[in-house]
Protein backbone atom coordinates (compact mmCIF):
# COMPACT_ATOMS: atom_id res chain seq x y z
CA UNK A 1 0.00 0.00 0.00
CA UNK A 2 2.92 2.33 -0.63
CA UNK A 3 1.82 5.84 -1.57
CA UNK A 4 2.55 6.69 -5.14
CA UNK A 5 3.21 10.47 -5.24
CA UNK A 6 2.50 10.78 -8.93
CA UNK A 7 -0.81 9.04 -8.51
CA UNK A 8 -1.78 11.19 -5.55
CA UNK A 9 -1.47 14.30 -7.70
CA UNK A 10 -4.23 13.36 -10.08
CA UNK A 11 -6.42 11.64 -7.49
CA UNK A 12 -10.09 12.63 -7.38
CA UNK A 13 -10.48 11.51 -3.81
CA UNK A 14 -7.89 10.86 -1.18
CA UNK A 15 -8.92 9.54 2.22
CA UNK A 16 -6.35 10.11 4.97
CA UNK A 17 -6.45 8.59 8.46
CA UNK A 18 -10.25 8.55 8.44
CA UNK A 19 -11.94 7.36 11.63
CA UNK A 20 -15.58 7.22 12.60
CA UNK A 21 -17.09 6.35 15.94
CA UNK A 22 -20.75 5.95 16.82
CA UNK A 23 -20.59 6.73 20.53
CA UNK A 24 -17.94 4.40 21.96
CA UNK A 25 -18.20 2.06 19.01
CA UNK A 26 -15.28 2.65 16.65
CA UNK A 27 -16.54 1.70 13.18
CA UNK A 28 -13.71 2.98 11.01
CA UNK A 29 -10.10 3.06 12.15
CA UNK A 30 -7.45 5.04 10.35
CA UNK A 31 -8.57 4.42 6.78
CA UNK A 32 -6.27 5.50 3.94
CA UNK A 33 -6.98 5.13 0.28
CA UNK A 34 -7.03 6.93 -3.03
CA UNK A 35 -9.48 7.06 -5.93
CA UNK A 36 -8.02 8.03 -9.32
CA UNK A 37 -9.91 8.72 -12.57
CA UNK A 38 -11.06 5.50 -14.21
CA UNK A 39 -10.66 3.38 -11.10
CA UNK A 40 -13.33 0.82 -10.35
CA UNK A 41 -12.76 -0.05 -6.72
CA UNK A 42 -14.79 -2.78 -5.07
CA UNK A 43 -14.96 -2.71 -1.30
CA UNK A 44 -15.68 -6.16 0.06
CA UNK A 45 -15.91 -7.50 3.58
CA UNK A 46 -18.26 -9.00 6.13
CA UNK A 47 -21.38 -7.17 7.29
CA UNK A 48 -20.51 -4.65 9.98
CA UNK A 49 -16.94 -4.20 8.77
CA UNK A 50 -17.55 -0.51 8.07
CA UNK A 51 -17.85 -0.62 4.26
CA UNK A 52 -21.10 1.30 4.03
CA UNK A 53 -20.06 3.76 6.74
CA UNK A 54 -16.91 4.52 4.76
CA UNK A 55 -18.97 5.25 1.66
CA UNK A 56 -21.42 7.39 3.62
CA UNK A 57 -18.52 9.32 5.15
CA UNK A 58 -17.11 9.99 1.69
CA UNK A 59 -20.45 11.48 0.64
CA UNK A 60 -20.68 13.39 3.95
CA UNK A 61 -23.91 11.63 4.88
CA UNK A 62 -22.01 10.75 8.07
CA UNK A 63 -19.56 13.11 9.70
CA UNK A 64 -16.25 11.36 10.31
CA UNK A 65 -14.77 11.64 13.79
CA UNK A 66 -11.27 12.43 12.56
CA UNK A 67 -9.07 12.36 9.48
CA UNK A 68 -9.51 14.09 6.16
CA UNK A 69 -11.12 13.51 2.78
CA UNK A 70 -9.37 15.40 -0.01
CA UNK A 71 -11.37 16.12 -3.14
CA UNK A 72 -8.84 17.29 -5.74
CA UNK A 73 -6.57 18.18 -2.84
CA UNK A 74 -9.17 20.18 -0.89
CA UNK A 75 -10.29 18.82 2.47
CA UNK A 76 -14.08 18.57 2.36
CA UNK A 77 -14.28 17.99 6.11
CA UNK A 78 -12.91 21.48 6.77
CA UNK A 79 -15.31 24.11 8.05
CA UNK A 80 -16.96 26.16 5.32
CA UNK A 81 -17.10 23.36 2.77
CA UNK A 82 -20.11 23.66 0.49
CA UNK A 83 -21.37 20.13 1.05
CA UNK A 84 -24.21 20.18 -1.52
CA UNK A 85 -21.81 21.45 -4.19
CA UNK A 86 -19.30 18.70 -3.36
CA UNK A 87 -22.01 16.03 -3.35
CA UNK A 88 -23.13 17.07 -6.82
CA UNK A 89 -19.74 15.83 -8.10
CA UNK A 90 -19.85 12.59 -6.12
CA UNK A 91 -22.93 10.56 -7.01
CA UNK A 92 -24.37 7.85 -4.82
CA UNK A 93 -26.55 4.82 -5.46
CA UNK A 94 -28.21 3.39 -2.37
CA UNK A 95 -29.15 -0.09 -1.28
CA UNK A 96 -32.75 1.06 -0.80
CA UNK A 97 -32.83 3.03 -4.11
CA UNK A 98 -34.19 6.21 -2.47
CA UNK A 99 -35.99 7.35 -5.60
CA UNK A 100 -38.21 10.37 -4.94
CA UNK A 101 -41.65 8.85 -4.39
CA UNK A 102 -43.50 12.00 -5.40
CA UNK A 103 -41.97 12.13 -8.87
CA UNK A 104 -42.11 10.06 -12.01
CA UNK A 105 -39.06 8.17 -13.25
CA UNK A 106 -38.21 11.00 -15.65
CA UNK A 107 -38.65 13.74 -13.02
CA UNK A 108 -36.40 11.78 -10.68
CA UNK A 109 -33.63 12.03 -13.25
CA UNK A 110 -34.35 15.69 -14.05
CA UNK A 111 -34.85 17.20 -10.59
CA UNK A 112 -31.18 17.36 -9.65
CA UNK A 113 -30.12 18.69 -13.03
CA UNK A 114 -32.69 21.49 -12.88
CA UNK A 115 -32.39 22.43 -9.20
CA UNK A 116 -28.69 21.86 -8.61
CA UNK A 117 -26.99 22.22 -12.00
CA UNK A 118 -29.50 24.85 -13.17
CA UNK A 119 -29.99 23.20 -16.55
CA UNK A 120 -32.96 24.07 -18.71
CA UNK A 121 -35.88 21.62 -18.82
CA UNK A 122 -35.23 20.52 -22.39
CA UNK A 123 -31.52 19.95 -21.83
CA UNK A 124 -32.20 18.10 -18.57
CA UNK A 125 -34.80 15.94 -20.26
CA UNK A 126 -32.52 15.01 -23.14
CA UNK A 127 -29.69 14.20 -20.77
CA UNK A 128 -31.93 12.14 -18.49
CA UNK A 129 -33.30 10.20 -21.47
CA UNK A 130 -29.78 9.41 -22.62
CA UNK A 131 -28.99 7.60 -19.37
CA UNK A 132 -32.47 6.10 -18.97
CA UNK A 133 -32.02 4.52 -22.38
CA UNK A 134 -28.61 3.18 -21.38
CA UNK A 135 -30.14 1.36 -18.42
CA UNK A 136 -33.17 0.25 -20.44
CA UNK A 137 -35.71 2.29 -18.49
CA UNK A 138 -36.74 4.75 -21.21
CA UNK A 139 -40.21 3.20 -21.70
CA UNK A 140 -41.03 3.71 -18.03
CA UNK A 141 -40.49 7.46 -17.74
CA UNK A 142 -44.12 8.08 -16.74
CA UNK A 143 -44.17 5.48 -13.97
CA UNK A 144 -43.97 6.38 -10.30
CA UNK A 145 -41.33 4.54 -8.24
CA UNK A 146 -43.99 2.50 -6.40
CA UNK A 147 -45.13 1.06 -9.72
CA UNK A 148 -41.85 -0.52 -10.85
CA UNK A 149 -39.78 -3.44 -9.60
CA UNK A 150 -36.70 -3.24 -7.39
CA UNK A 151 -34.26 -3.90 -10.21
CA UNK A 152 -35.94 -1.25 -12.32
CA UNK A 153 -35.81 1.22 -9.43
CA UNK A 154 -32.11 0.64 -9.00
CA UNK A 155 -31.47 1.14 -12.70
CA UNK A 156 -33.38 4.43 -12.52
CA UNK A 157 -31.30 5.36 -9.47
CA UNK A 158 -28.15 4.73 -11.50
CA UNK A 159 -29.48 6.88 -14.34
CA UNK A 160 -30.43 9.60 -11.85
CA UNK A 161 -26.93 9.66 -10.40
CA UNK A 162 -25.28 9.58 -13.84
CA UNK A 163 -27.47 12.41 -15.18
CA UNK A 164 -25.63 14.71 -12.75
CA UNK A 165 -22.36 13.96 -14.62
CA UNK A 166 -20.53 13.06 -11.41
CA UNK A 167 -16.77 12.55 -11.33
CA UNK A 168 -17.09 9.48 -9.20
CA UNK A 169 -20.07 7.28 -8.42
CA UNK A 170 -20.47 5.52 -5.07
CA UNK A 171 -22.53 2.32 -4.90
CA UNK A 172 -23.71 1.21 -1.46
CA UNK A 173 -24.60 -2.48 -1.84
CA UNK A 174 -26.72 -1.74 -4.91
CA UNK A 175 -28.01 -5.29 -5.32
CA UNK A 176 -28.46 -6.38 -1.69
CA UNK A 177 -32.13 -5.41 -1.50
CA UNK A 178 -33.03 -7.12 -4.77
CA UNK A 179 -34.61 -10.44 -5.56
CA UNK A 180 -32.04 -12.80 -7.08
CA UNK A 181 -33.52 -12.62 -10.58
CA UNK A 182 -33.13 -8.83 -10.64
CA UNK A 183 -29.51 -8.70 -9.55
CA UNK A 184 -28.23 -9.46 -13.05
CA UNK A 185 -29.88 -6.48 -14.76
CA UNK A 186 -28.39 -4.05 -12.23
CA UNK A 187 -24.93 -5.59 -12.37
CA UNK A 188 -25.05 -5.47 -16.17
CA UNK A 189 -25.88 -1.75 -16.07
CA UNK A 190 -23.00 -1.19 -13.65
CA UNK A 191 -20.61 -3.18 -15.81
CA UNK A 192 -21.58 -1.03 -18.81
CA UNK A 193 -20.77 2.06 -16.78
CA UNK A 194 -17.43 0.67 -15.67
CA UNK A 195 -16.50 -0.12 -19.25
CA UNK A 196 -17.39 3.38 -20.34
CA UNK A 197 -14.62 4.62 -18.05
CA UNK A 198 -16.71 5.83 -15.12
CA UNK A 199 -14.84 6.11 -11.83
CA UNK A 200 -16.69 3.89 -9.38
CA UNK A 201 -16.48 2.89 -5.76
CA UNK A 202 -18.63 -0.17 -5.13
CA UNK A 203 -19.48 -1.74 -1.79
CA UNK A 204 -20.70 -5.19 -2.77
CA UNK A 205 -21.22 -8.79 -1.80
CA UNK A 206 -21.20 -9.86 -5.46
CA UNK A 207 -17.76 -11.48 -5.59
CA UNK A 208 -17.95 -12.38 -9.28
CA UNK A 209 -18.70 -8.77 -10.12
CA UNK A 210 -15.87 -7.51 -7.90
CA UNK A 211 -13.44 -9.94 -9.51
CA UNK A 212 -14.41 -9.38 -13.15
CA UNK A 213 -15.25 -5.70 -13.29
CA UNK A 214 -13.10 -3.87 -10.76
CA UNK A 215 -9.59 -2.63 -11.23
CA UNK A 216 -8.90 -2.74 -7.52
CA UNK A 217 -10.27 -4.61 -4.53
CA UNK A 218 -10.31 -3.32 -0.98
CA UNK A 219 -10.99 -5.93 1.68
CA UNK A 220 -12.24 -4.43 4.92
CA UNK A 221 -12.35 -6.22 8.24
CA UNK A 222 -13.47 -4.76 11.57
CA UNK A 223 -13.14 -1.14 10.52
CA UNK A 224 -9.71 -1.32 8.91
CA UNK A 225 -8.52 -1.93 5.37
CA UNK A 226 -7.09 -5.40 5.78
CA UNK A 227 -5.84 -5.95 2.25
CA UNK A 228 -5.91 -4.03 -0.99
CA UNK A 229 -4.80 -4.93 -4.48
CA UNK A 230 -5.76 -6.02 -7.97
CA UNK A 231 -8.54 -8.62 -8.30
CA UNK A 232 -5.92 -11.25 -9.25
CA UNK A 233 -3.89 -10.55 -6.14
CA UNK A 234 -6.85 -10.63 -3.79
CA UNK A 235 -8.77 -13.56 -5.27
CA UNK A 236 -5.91 -15.80 -6.35
CA UNK A 237 -3.14 -14.92 -3.97
CA UNK A 238 -4.48 -13.25 -0.82
CA UNK A 239 -1.69 -12.35 1.59
CA UNK A 240 -3.61 -12.17 4.86
CA UNK A 241 -5.24 -15.03 6.69
CA UNK A 242 -8.42 -12.96 7.28
CA UNK A 243 -8.80 -12.39 3.55
CA UNK A 244 -8.36 -16.09 2.82
CA UNK A 245 -10.96 -16.99 5.46
CA UNK A 246 -13.44 -14.44 4.12
CA UNK A 247 -13.05 -15.56 0.50
CA UNK A 248 -13.21 -19.24 1.33
CA UNK A 249 -16.61 -18.65 2.94
CA UNK A 250 -17.80 -17.18 -0.32
CA UNK A 251 -16.39 -19.98 -2.43
CA UNK A 252 -18.25 -22.51 -0.36
CA UNK A 253 -21.50 -20.55 -0.70
CA UNK A 254 -21.02 -20.16 -4.43
CA UNK A 255 -19.98 -23.71 -5.21
CA UNK A 256 -23.43 -25.29 -5.77
CA UNK A 257 -24.18 -22.70 -8.45
CA UNK A 258 -20.94 -23.48 -10.28
CA UNK A 259 -21.61 -27.20 -10.38
CA UNK A 260 -25.10 -26.86 -11.85
Amino acid sequence: MAENPHKADEAILQVNHLSKAFGKNLVLKDIDFTVCPGDVISIIGASGSGKSTLLRCINLLETPTSGEILYHGRNVLARGTNAPEYRSHVGMVFQSFNLFNNMTVLDNCMAGQIKVLRRGREEARAHAMEYLEKVGMAPYINAKPRQISGGQKQRVAIARAMAMDPEVLLFDEPTSALDPEMVGEVLAAMQNLAESGMTMLVVTHEMAFARDVSSQIVYMNQGVICEQGSPEQIFQNPQKQETRDFLSRFRREDSPQVRS
Binding site: N59, R87, M92, F100, K115, A143, M164, E185, L187, Q191
Partner: protein, 282 residues
Protein backbone atom coordinates in the same frame (compact mmCIF):
# COMPACT_ATOMS: atom_id res chain seq x y z
CA UNK B 1 -96.15 17.01 16.41
CA UNK B 2 -97.56 20.44 17.02
CA UNK B 3 -94.16 21.54 18.35
CA UNK B 4 -92.46 20.52 15.11
CA UNK B 5 -95.02 22.45 13.11
CA UNK B 6 -94.34 25.42 15.39
CA UNK B 7 -90.59 25.03 14.82
CA UNK B 8 -91.12 24.89 11.06
CA UNK B 9 -93.20 28.05 11.17
CA UNK B 10 -90.60 29.83 13.33
CA UNK B 11 -87.78 28.85 11.05
CA UNK B 12 -89.75 30.03 8.03
CA UNK B 13 -90.36 33.32 9.80
CA UNK B 14 -86.66 33.72 10.65
CA UNK B 15 -85.66 32.76 7.15
CA UNK B 16 -87.96 35.26 5.49
CA UNK B 17 -86.49 38.07 7.60
CA UNK B 18 -82.86 37.10 8.06
CA UNK B 19 -81.90 34.78 5.19
CA UNK B 20 -79.58 37.43 3.76
CA UNK B 21 -77.80 37.86 7.06
CA UNK B 22 -77.50 34.05 7.50
CA UNK B 23 -76.11 33.66 4.00
CA UNK B 24 -73.59 36.46 4.31
CA UNK B 25 -72.60 35.01 7.70
CA UNK B 26 -71.97 31.61 6.12
CA UNK B 27 -69.97 33.23 3.34
CA UNK B 28 -67.83 35.15 5.83
CA UNK B 29 -67.30 32.07 7.98
CA UNK B 30 -66.16 30.02 5.02
CA UNK B 31 -63.83 32.74 3.71
CA UNK B 32 -62.32 33.30 7.15
CA UNK B 33 -61.86 29.56 7.78
CA UNK B 34 -60.36 28.99 4.33
CA UNK B 35 -57.97 31.95 4.35
CA UNK B 36 -57.02 31.29 7.99
CA UNK B 37 -56.31 27.62 7.27
CA UNK B 38 -54.25 28.38 4.17
CA UNK B 39 -52.14 31.06 5.87
CA UNK B 40 -51.91 28.82 8.94
CA UNK B 41 -50.58 26.00 6.73
CA UNK B 42 -47.98 28.32 5.24
CA UNK B 43 -46.90 29.35 8.76
CA UNK B 44 -46.84 25.68 9.74
CA UNK B 45 -44.73 24.71 6.76
CA UNK B 46 -42.25 27.53 7.37
CA UNK B 47 -41.95 26.50 11.02
CA UNK B 48 -41.58 22.86 10.01
CA UNK B 49 -38.74 23.64 7.58
CA UNK B 50 -36.95 25.96 10.03
CA UNK B 51 -37.36 23.36 12.76
CA UNK B 52 -35.66 20.62 10.77
CA UNK B 53 -32.60 22.47 9.41
CA UNK B 54 -29.82 20.07 10.32
CA UNK B 55 -26.61 21.18 11.94
CA UNK B 56 -23.51 19.19 12.68
CA UNK B 57 -20.58 19.55 15.03
CA UNK B 58 -18.46 21.06 12.27
CA UNK B 59 -20.77 23.99 11.65
CA UNK B 60 -19.96 27.53 12.67
CA UNK B 61 -20.97 28.21 16.31
CA UNK B 62 -22.99 31.25 15.25
CA UNK B 63 -25.01 29.13 12.82
CA UNK B 64 -25.65 26.55 15.52
CA UNK B 65 -26.71 29.30 17.92
CA UNK B 66 -29.19 30.77 15.45
CA UNK B 67 -30.65 27.39 14.57
CA UNK B 68 -31.16 26.59 18.24
CA UNK B 69 -32.66 30.04 18.82
CA UNK B 70 -35.11 29.50 15.96
CA UNK B 71 -36.18 26.17 17.44
CA UNK B 72 -36.74 27.75 20.85
CA UNK B 73 -38.79 30.61 19.38
CA UNK B 74 -40.96 28.22 17.37
CA UNK B 75 -41.45 26.05 20.42
CA UNK B 76 -42.62 29.03 22.49
CA UNK B 77 -44.97 30.15 19.70
CA UNK B 78 -46.49 26.69 19.41
CA UNK B 79 -46.94 26.19 23.14
CA UNK B 80 -48.47 29.64 23.73
CA UNK B 81 -50.96 29.63 20.86
CA UNK B 82 -51.87 25.98 21.20
CA UNK B 83 -52.30 26.34 24.93
CA UNK B 84 -54.67 29.32 25.10
CA UNK B 85 -58.25 29.69 23.82
CA UNK B 86 -58.65 31.39 20.47
CA UNK B 87 -61.38 33.65 21.89
CA UNK B 88 -58.84 35.12 24.32
CA UNK B 89 -56.16 35.40 21.64
CA UNK B 90 -58.62 37.47 19.62
CA UNK B 91 -59.27 39.80 22.55
CA UNK B 92 -55.57 40.02 23.33
CA UNK B 93 -54.55 41.03 19.83
CA UNK B 94 -57.54 43.20 19.00
CA UNK B 95 -57.57 45.22 22.22
CA UNK B 96 -53.94 44.71 23.21
CA UNK B 97 -52.37 46.59 20.31
CA UNK B 98 -54.27 49.88 20.87
CA UNK B 99 -53.85 49.50 24.63
CA UNK B 100 -50.07 49.35 24.43
CA UNK B 101 -49.64 51.92 21.67
CA UNK B 102 -52.12 54.47 23.00
CA UNK B 103 -54.42 53.82 20.04
CA UNK B 104 -51.63 54.52 17.54
CA UNK B 105 -51.64 50.93 16.27
CA UNK B 106 -54.92 49.18 15.78
CA UNK B 107 -56.39 46.77 13.28
CA UNK B 108 -57.72 48.79 10.37
CA UNK B 109 -60.38 46.24 9.56
CA UNK B 110 -62.14 43.53 11.48
CA UNK B 111 -61.26 41.14 8.64
CA UNK B 112 -57.54 41.65 9.08
CA UNK B 113 -57.83 41.09 12.82
CA UNK B 114 -59.91 37.91 12.44
CA UNK B 115 -57.65 36.46 9.74
CA UNK B 116 -54.51 37.19 11.77
CA UNK B 117 -55.90 35.49 14.87
CA UNK B 118 -57.19 32.41 13.04
CA UNK B 119 -53.98 32.07 10.98
CA UNK B 120 -51.67 32.35 13.98
CA UNK B 121 -53.76 29.85 15.90
CA UNK B 122 -53.91 27.38 13.02
CA UNK B 123 -50.19 27.88 12.35
CA UNK B 124 -49.37 26.73 15.88
CA UNK B 125 -51.25 23.47 15.35
CA UNK B 126 -49.93 23.03 11.80
CA UNK B 127 -46.30 23.54 12.89
CA UNK B 128 -46.57 20.33 14.88
CA UNK B 129 -48.53 18.52 12.15
CA UNK B 130 -45.93 19.48 9.55
CA UNK B 131 -43.12 18.35 11.85
CA UNK B 132 -44.90 15.00 12.15
CA UNK B 133 -45.41 14.90 8.39
CA UNK B 134 -41.72 15.54 7.73
CA UNK B 135 -40.67 12.88 10.24
CA UNK B 136 -43.01 10.39 8.59
CA UNK B 137 -41.22 10.67 5.23
CA UNK B 138 -38.55 7.98 4.83
CA UNK B 139 -35.09 9.41 5.75
CA UNK B 140 -33.80 7.73 2.56
CA UNK B 141 -35.66 10.41 0.58
CA UNK B 142 -33.58 13.11 2.25
CA UNK B 143 -30.38 11.15 1.66
CA UNK B 144 -31.28 10.60 -1.98
CA UNK B 145 -31.85 14.32 -2.45
CA UNK B 146 -28.72 15.31 -0.57
CA UNK B 147 -26.64 12.81 -2.54
CA UNK B 148 -27.42 14.61 -5.80
CA UNK B 149 -26.35 17.89 -4.26
CA UNK B 150 -29.63 19.47 -3.18
CA UNK B 151 -29.53 22.01 -0.35
CA UNK B 152 -31.82 21.69 2.66
CA UNK B 153 -34.37 24.09 1.17
CA UNK B 154 -34.32 22.35 -2.23
CA UNK B 155 -34.66 18.95 -0.56
CA UNK B 156 -37.60 20.22 1.45
CA UNK B 157 -39.48 22.03 -1.32
CA UNK B 158 -39.07 19.47 -4.09
CA UNK B 159 -38.93 16.14 -2.27
CA UNK B 160 -39.96 16.11 1.39
CA UNK B 161 -42.75 18.68 1.67
CA UNK B 162 -44.81 17.36 -1.27
CA UNK B 163 -44.78 13.95 0.42
CA UNK B 164 -45.33 15.42 3.88
CA UNK B 165 -48.21 17.49 2.51
CA UNK B 166 -49.90 14.36 1.23
CA UNK B 167 -49.38 12.66 4.60
CA UNK B 168 -50.88 15.52 6.58
CA UNK B 169 -53.84 16.23 4.29
CA UNK B 170 -56.21 14.58 6.82
CA UNK B 171 -54.79 16.92 9.50
CA UNK B 172 -55.25 19.96 7.28
CA UNK B 173 -58.83 18.85 6.73
CA UNK B 174 -59.29 18.54 10.48
CA UNK B 175 -57.98 22.04 10.99
CA UNK B 176 -60.21 23.47 8.30
CA UNK B 177 -63.30 21.90 9.78
CA UNK B 178 -62.33 23.02 13.28
CA UNK B 179 -61.84 26.52 11.90
CA UNK B 180 -65.27 26.54 10.24
CA UNK B 181 -66.80 25.89 13.65
CA UNK B 182 -64.41 27.77 15.91
CA UNK B 183 -64.42 31.01 13.99
CA UNK B 184 -67.78 31.43 15.76
CA UNK B 185 -65.82 32.87 18.68
CA UNK B 186 -64.83 35.82 16.51
CA UNK B 187 -68.13 37.53 17.43
CA UNK B 188 -66.15 38.70 20.48
CA UNK B 189 -64.36 41.26 18.33
CA UNK B 190 -67.45 41.92 16.22
CA UNK B 191 -66.69 39.77 13.20
CA UNK B 192 -69.88 39.22 11.15
CA UNK B 193 -69.72 35.43 10.83
CA UNK B 194 -72.50 32.85 10.75
CA UNK B 195 -72.82 32.75 14.53
CA UNK B 196 -72.98 36.56 14.65
CA UNK B 197 -75.99 36.29 12.32
CA UNK B 198 -77.66 34.07 14.91
CA UNK B 199 -76.98 36.62 17.67
CA UNK B 200 -78.41 39.39 15.54
CA UNK B 201 -81.49 37.35 14.62
CA UNK B 202 -82.36 36.25 18.16
CA UNK B 203 -81.66 39.73 19.54
CA UNK B 204 -84.61 41.01 17.60
CA UNK B 205 -86.91 37.97 17.40
CA UNK B 206 -86.16 36.03 20.64
CA UNK B 207 -86.50 32.81 18.61
CA UNK B 208 -83.44 31.18 20.24
CA UNK B 209 -84.12 27.54 19.52
CA UNK B 210 -85.35 27.90 15.90
CA UNK B 211 -82.35 30.06 15.07
CA UNK B 212 -79.98 27.56 16.73
CA UNK B 213 -81.55 24.85 14.56
CA UNK B 214 -80.81 26.88 11.47
CA UNK B 215 -77.23 27.34 12.72
CA UNK B 216 -76.77 23.63 13.42
CA UNK B 217 -77.97 22.67 9.96
CA UNK B 218 -75.88 25.44 8.38
CA UNK B 219 -72.65 24.45 10.15
CA UNK B 220 -73.20 20.77 9.44
CA UNK B 221 -73.78 21.50 5.76
CA UNK B 222 -70.55 23.48 5.57
CA UNK B 223 -68.44 20.87 7.31
CA UNK B 224 -69.89 17.96 5.33
CA UNK B 225 -69.19 19.82 2.12
CA UNK B 226 -65.65 20.48 3.33
CA UNK B 227 -65.04 16.79 4.17
CA UNK B 228 -66.30 15.79 0.77
CA UNK B 229 -64.05 18.25 -1.04
CA UNK B 230 -61.04 17.24 1.05
CA UNK B 231 -61.51 13.55 0.25
CA UNK B 232 -61.74 14.45 -3.39
CA UNK B 233 -58.55 16.51 -3.17
CA UNK B 234 -56.73 13.63 -1.49
CA UNK B 235 -57.71 11.23 -4.26
CA UNK B 236 -56.57 13.82 -6.79
CA UNK B 237 -53.18 14.07 -5.08
CA UNK B 238 -52.63 10.32 -5.15
CA UNK B 239 -52.68 10.47 -8.94
CA UNK B 240 -53.38 7.70 -11.36
CA UNK B 241 -52.71 4.16 -10.21
CA UNK B 242 -51.48 3.10 -13.64
CA UNK B 243 -48.98 4.49 -16.10
CA UNK B 244 -48.34 4.51 -19.84
CA UNK B 245 -45.33 2.87 -21.38
CA UNK B 246 -43.55 5.19 -23.73
CA UNK B 247 -42.57 3.49 -26.93
CA UNK B 248 -39.77 5.69 -28.18
CA UNK B 249 -37.61 2.96 -29.60
CA UNK B 250 -38.59 -0.57 -30.48
CA UNK B 251 -35.36 -1.92 -29.06
CA UNK B 252 -35.62 -0.33 -25.65
CA UNK B 253 -39.34 -1.04 -25.37
CA UNK B 254 -38.89 -4.28 -23.55
CA UNK B 255 -35.20 -4.04 -22.89
CA UNK B 256 -34.14 -5.52 -19.62
CA UNK B 257 -37.63 -5.75 -18.22
CA UNK B 258 -38.50 -8.77 -16.20
CA UNK B 259 -42.10 -8.40 -17.36
CA UNK B 260 -41.09 -9.66 -20.79
CA UNK B 261 -38.68 -12.46 -20.03
CA UNK B 262 -39.02 -13.88 -23.52
CA UNK B 263 -37.93 -10.71 -25.27
CA UNK B 264 -34.28 -10.73 -24.24
CA UNK B 265 -32.20 -7.72 -23.33
CA UNK B 266 -29.23 -5.90 -24.81
CA UNK B 267 -27.29 -7.16 -21.81
CA UNK B 268 -27.87 -10.81 -22.65
CA UNK B 269 -24.68 -11.16 -24.56
CA UNK B 270 -22.76 -9.65 -21.72
CA UNK B 271 -24.35 -11.89 -19.12
CA UNK B 272 -23.38 -14.92 -21.18
CA UNK B 273 -19.80 -13.72 -21.25
CA UNK B 274 -20.14 -13.19 -17.57
CA UNK B 275 -21.28 -16.74 -16.94
CA UNK B 276 -18.48 -18.12 -19.07
CA UNK B 277 -15.93 -16.09 -17.20
CA UNK B 278 -17.43 -17.30 -13.98
CA UNK B 279 -17.09 -20.92 -15.03
CA UNK B 280 -13.52 -20.48 -16.17
CA UNK B 281 -12.66 -18.72 -12.94
CA UNK B 282 -13.53 -21.72 -10.85
Amino acid sequence: MGKFAQLGADIAKLWSQYSNSYFSGMKNTLILALVGTIIGCVIGFICGVLNTIPYSKNDHPLKKFFLKLIRVIIRIYVEVFRGTPMVLQAVFLFYGLPYFSNNAVRFSSIWVAAIVVVSINTGAYMAESVRGGIISVDPGQTEGAMAIGMTHVQTMTSVILPQALRNIMPQIGNNFIINVKDTSVMFIIGFPDFFAAHRAAVGASYLYFPSATVEMIGYLTMTLLASFLLRWAERKMDGSSSYELVQEDQLTMTAGTYRHPGEGTPFDERSKEYENLEREGR
